[in-house]
Amino acid sequence: MSSPTSIADRLPSSVRTEIEAHLRQAPQREAAISDVLRLLQQALGYIDDDTLLYAAQQTGMPPVKVEELCSFYPLVLRRPAGRHLLRICDSVSCHLAGADSLLRQAEEISGVTLGQVAKEGSYSILPHVCLGLCDRAPAALVDGHAVGGFDGDALVALLASWEHR
């Protein structure tokens, strides 16, 4: 297991500089936590335990507080994800519009349960809280881009294209 200092070694210096800039600009160091987590996730893919401790150390927060944030915000990843990321909304409107069957179908195609890395690192599929696209339900986030009217055919096509790339 690596120590929090070795996380700093793994980070490109540009990311370190950016993190430090955010910490300096924040009225309190704790206030920079969401930016710190975002930058760390961009650079390292996901927030592992060591990275979490590093973020806690940088912001002066207890590690428990950082984990509270990480576990509350679904955009923060605490486990490795595939090269592409599909987040399917499962809140009320999308649920009524068939999100449930979309998620089951996604599991069948990927061959793994939701949240696991599928097809040798090609992609991961996650359920997501309301995306605010209730008028276009079922909705999804495809590599961070919002998509409405996301149906079974779109799902099949998308996963196939990700698998073959």
Binding site: P62, P63, V64, K65, E67, E68, S71, F72, P74, V129
Partner: protein
């Protein structure tokens, strides 16, 4: 005239600033509105949506609406209703939602009989379950030896995390996730680190957090006998409610005292009681490890007393009246008596009693400037809660100590050697702005008698409202200080030194162990016979010729004098009993249908033993005379158990301000000595197994980089060498060795003295 609002047409009085739920609870009307997340110490949150009431506005513009009573400020003339069907439906529906994921494991749940969820569900009228899908489940965590978690029972009221983080300042417990996956716990499995973790079992309205120690000898709460008791593990005097049944003490809970411990109790207070079942606890009379009958022990003691060579030793661990009885018996025999075996401790107690009346913990929570000297919060953990409360109100905190403390990040730090405390206190007092309420919290060990004396002088020049709280681990330090006026300890020791006393009748004392100066007593142990009345298997008990079994605090009655100078009485909760697996007709005529034979254990209350000895020695009359005289002089009016307590009069306190000015002696040596305190460390709690399993590693603590050695060899005052492994503590003051108080006592040194050490390098 007080203001009122109306609930279902009935007048409800309220205080300004109260919300509707608080006003109802203050009236004892907790039957009108069910609630979960509200807790008097944690305030309102509105998370559980259970305490609905319907508000009828006084204008024509707004329709009646359902609101949460805990978030609705009480105001005069407010018209509220709960008796209508939509409010009833709301109560029942919320109850049903809260019960949606709750397992039906009530038969094996420790909360049964005290379950707020059960009470409220029945009261709110939820009967039939409509939801048919699977319940959400969690993997619960292992949270150490004190608290058990069963996360599936959670109803997400957030009481636990609000208590743990906001009230107790804990940093290793939090709330994770969102939606219906909200989890309350630690980052990983492991013991909870806060000294207040045990309160989770009390704040949790259902069985998510339950008392693991209670679980081991669990009986339903309605089977427990209880009585008003006082915590015997430090000098704050928190009020407790021990629960016992069938001759066994099973748990300790907090008992409300508005000025000391309104809602919470530290883990030493909650789990320290397990010393009463320590496997080496003395239950029988023993003469040189041979079990003897009670009468034989009394005869023997009476003979020894008649020889006129007995010295009497009391203790700050025994209560006021027990020490009085010992003193009266000593007087009746014309023998010397001291409440302390160590003159340093005696002088310390006297100086503490001479201080003006200390602020209550409630007043401490209102302080604007706080100075903490040494590890006061480790000695008396419950001091931390009012300090945190004051910090939330914006108080400024200064911390002066040898070792890092739990509150370091909340205040201005002053790291110092043990000789720096007095200067730190002086600087803080001079810088105290006028008109600010300031409180000094001091560790008795860190300051010593000379330091406390200086604090008293400093306080004389400070504005009224400034108080000093001196934390000490002995529950009756103030009471024992009654007998510490003019060097009794020194006189008793002198009588032993010259051979005038060859027998010591000791009460709950541990002179050979941790009472402060073991070398003096070790050197004389061959010529001194010791008879000891105690309930702990201490070093002195091992060495005592005659062992007399004593009732522990929950097993007897008494009065402690706490740090404020407040007398508080405790009642007997239970009589300890042993169960024999089989009926033995020689012991009892009646077998118990419960499958065993109960034998009550005959333990001494010290007063009864003193009286029995006076009677056998034919000195009962003079014993009673002396006892009455001292009682009248020192504590004419004593409160009863459950009373809020009464204070010693200032005139009496003034009598302890005698002329002797203690002089600090530091001696010479490479290192300064300091005490290292841990929140579970106290004479009685040391024999509480579960709590002790959390103890930090043993050894001598010092700043990093001071030595290459692996261990330190220190020589006691009587020439014995002790080896201590080195534990480096980052952020500790340099040139200081910190040892637990029991080790310091073993060496015969006091905090603030200097010592030389041999360094043992790695082989």
């Amino acid at each position: 005239m007080t203001a009122h609002f109306y609930l279902d047409g009935r007048e409800i009085p309220f205080q300004p600033g109260q919300n509707v739920l608080e006003a109802l609870l203050a009236m004892g009307r907790d039957r009108d509105v069910p609630y979960f997340c509200y807790h008097p110490a944690l305030g309102s949150l509105g998370a559980c949506r259970q305490c609905a009431v319907k508000l009828y506005p006084h204008d024509d513009k707004h329709p009646p609406r359902v609101m949460m009573a805990c978030l609705l400020p009480a105001s005069a003339g407010l018209q509220l209703v709960t008796a209508e069907s939509d409010v009833r439906r709301e109560h029942a529906a919320i109850s049903e939602l809260l019960m949606r994921n709750h397992p039906h494991d009530c038969p094996i749940c420790d909360e049964g009989g005290q379950c707020h969820l059960q009470d409220m569900t029945v009261r709110a009228g939820h009967r039939l379950r409509h939801y048919e899908n699977a319940k959400r489940t969690f993997r619960s965590q292992q949270l150490g030896p004190l608290i058990r978690q069963e996360m599936n029972r959670c109803i997400t009221c957030y009481r636990c995390v609000r208590f743990y983080q906001d009230i107790a300042g804990g940093e290793d417990f939090g709330v994770f996730g969102s939606r219906d996956r909200v989890f309350f716990g630690r980052l990983h499995d492991g013991p909870l680190e806060s000294p207040f973790a045990g309160n989770l079992a009390e704040v949790c309205p259902t069985g998510v957090f339950t008392d693991k120690v209670y679980h081991a000898s669990y009986l339903r709460p309605w089977d427990l006998e209880t009585a008003a008791s006082i915590c015997p593990h430090c000098n704050l005097g928190c009020n407790t409610a021990p629960g016992a049944a069938r001759g066994r003490l099973r748990r300790v809970r907090q008992r409300h005292h508005p000025d000391i411990n309104p809602y919470f109790l530290c883990d030493r207070g909650r789990y320290g009681f397990r010393h009463v079942v320590h496997r080496r606890r003395p239950w029988r009379h023993r003469l040189r490890s041979r079990e003897i009958e009670r009468d034989e022990a009394l005869d023997r003691l009476t003979d020894l007393l008649r020889q006129g060579e007995t010295g009497f030793l009391g203790s700050p661990r025994a209560d006021v009246q027990d020490n009085l009885a010992w003193l009266a018996l000593a007087d009746a025999y014309g023998a010397p008596f001291a409440a302390f075996s160590d003159p340093w401790q005696e002088a310390l107690a006297r100086e503490i009693l001479a201080l003006p009346q200390a602020p209550s913990l409630r007043q401490l929570g209102e302080a604007e400037r706080i100075l903490i000297l040494g590890q006061a919060l480790e000695i008396s953990p419950s001091l931390r809660l009012p300090v945190q409360a004051a910090l939330r109100r914006g108080a400024q905190l200064t911390l002066a100590s040898v070792l890092p403390t739990a509150l370091d990040r909340y205040g201005e730090l002053r790291r110092l050697r043990p000789d720096g405390y007095v200067d730190a206190a002086g600087d803080w007092c001079r810088a105290l702005p006028s008109g600010k309420r300031g409180v000094i919290l001091a560790s008795a060990d860190a300051l010593g008698p000379a330091g406390v004396h200086v604090l008293r002088r400093l306080q004389e020049d400070l504005p009224p409202g400034t108080g000093v709280v001196v934390a000490h681990r002995a529950p009756n330090l103030g009471g024992a200080a009654f007998f510490a006026t003019d060097g009794q300890s020194q006189r008793l020791r002198e009588a032993i030194r010259v051979g005038r006393c060859r027998h010591l009748l000791a009460l709950a004392a541990d002179p050979l162990g941790e009472d402060g100066d073991a070398p003096f007593w070790r050197q004389r142990s061959s010529a001194l016979r010791i008879s000891l009345l105690d309930c702990l298997p201490t070093t002195t008990l091992e060495a005592a010729e005659l062992q007399l079994p004593m009732a522990a605090v929950a097993e007897r009655e008494g009065v402690f004098l706490n740090y404020e100078g407040r007398f508080q009485a405790f009642a007997r909760v239970y009589r300890p009993a042993q169960y024999h697996p089989h009926w033995d007709p020689s012991r009892s005529t009646f077998p118990l249908p419960a499958g065993g034979m109960r034998e009550e254990l005959a333990l001494w209350e010290p007063r009864d033993l003193a009286e029995a000895l006076a009677q056998r020695g034919g000195r009962l009359e003079s014993f009673h005379q002396r006892l009455e005289f001292y009682r009248h002089y020192l504590c004419p009016e004593l409160p009863g158990p459950g009373d809020p307590g009464s204070f010693i009069p200032d005139a009496l306190r003034a009598r302890f301000r005698i002329g002797i000015v203690p002089v600090p002696h530091s001696g010479t040596g490479r290192w300064w000595l300091s005490a290292f305190h841990w929140y579970g460390d106290e004479a009685q709690a040391r024999f509480a197994g579960e709590l002790q399993s959390l103890a930090p590693v043993a050894g001598v603590r010092l700043a990093p980089g001071q030595t290459q050695a692996q261990a330190m060899l220190l020589t006691s005052r009587d020439g014995q060498t002790r080896r201590y492994p080195i534990v480096e503590v980052a952020g500790m003051a340099a040139d200081v060795l910190a040892l637990p108080p029991s080790d310091l006592s073993d060496l015969g040194y006091h905090p603030g003295e200097r010592i030389d050490a041999l360094e043992e390098s790695a082989p």
